[in-house]
Symmetry: C2
Subunit: 141 residues, 2 copies
DNA sequence: CCTGGATTTTAGCCTGTGCTAAATTTGTGT
DNA sequence: ACACAAATTTAGCACAGGCTAAAATCCAGG
């Protein structure tokens, strides 16, 4: 989508496009980490039901994530996170948690805050995240 | 992207997909309204430079917006908003303004808040927007 | 009026992200 | 050991949204 901030890349794919790819990567690695945490391994079907998309779509997305170095997988095998993938998952989960807590702190109901935080988290810069953290520690009553 | 909330549509395009289309519609109608406000009319090139995408891409996006009833345009003519488009533009601009002011109110620098608010605005539910408004009126010092 | 620059349209290409249907593989239970 | 169910892969389709290059159109200045 537009709202690009960064200038247009010389090559094939603009920054805009790869912004979006990063969002998907974050959503997936975060989910993968949670599924592994909860059940030991993560299979494509787990992600398909989580995201409510077809397992075929998940399969191809996982292929792209593997291509980009976020996950590793073998044919018919489960999905595991690379070191880089684990790091992104941690970062995404932490940011997600801060945004969720922050929204609730300003009075948004949990059910709504959960939904909104999922959309918002990808667009929160480090500086804004710090501002949210600061707010939370000030209002830690 | 995933994080869909709504269930998978039976038909061709999932809700996920149309979420994304709505974001683009919001970005475009908001920009179109601003350009018209500033210079009287809005042409494809104006949007191309604003979004830093090619004019060809803008052209086709405008076609989709026209198809969906947000704008009207004639061959080689400028882009105008429909009533529905104007309404969306107003709503988007107002929401954008609230998010921007809110981020600055919690201590984010304006330059950063401008960028983040553009990404965040599309994911702010009415309830969260109300919470932001409430915060702003409380801290109106 | 007519030519040249700006703009828009057309044609054609690519990747991403959604789907269904069908083929393949895996692994479990009797 | 084998058959069956579950899972994955393959094949094939659609549309959105990026791009460039080239054709068409529009409009102003000379």
């Amino acid at each position: 989508m537009p709202h690009s901030r960064k200038r247009r890349d010389q090559g094939k794919h603009s920054r805009i496009r790869s912004d979006h790819a990063t969002e998907i990567a974050e959503d997936y690695v975060e989910a993968i980490a949670e599924v592994i945490e909860a059940s030991g391994t993560c299979r494509a079907v787990d992600l398909a039901s989580r995201f409510e998309v077809s397992h075929v779509t998940v399969n191809r997305t996982i292929g792209r994530l593997a291509r980009d170095g976020w996950v590793e997988t073998e044919p018919y095998g489960p999905v595991v996170l690379t070191a880089k993938g684990k790091q992104l998952a941690r970062k995404a989960a932490e940011r997600h948690a801060v945004v969720l807590k922050f929204l609730m702190a300003i009075g948004v109901r949990e059910s709504v805050a959960k939904i909104d935080s999922e959309g918002i988290e990808h667009h929160v810069s480090p500086e804004t995240l710090d501002a949210m953290r600061a707010f939370l520690s000030e209002h830690a009553d």
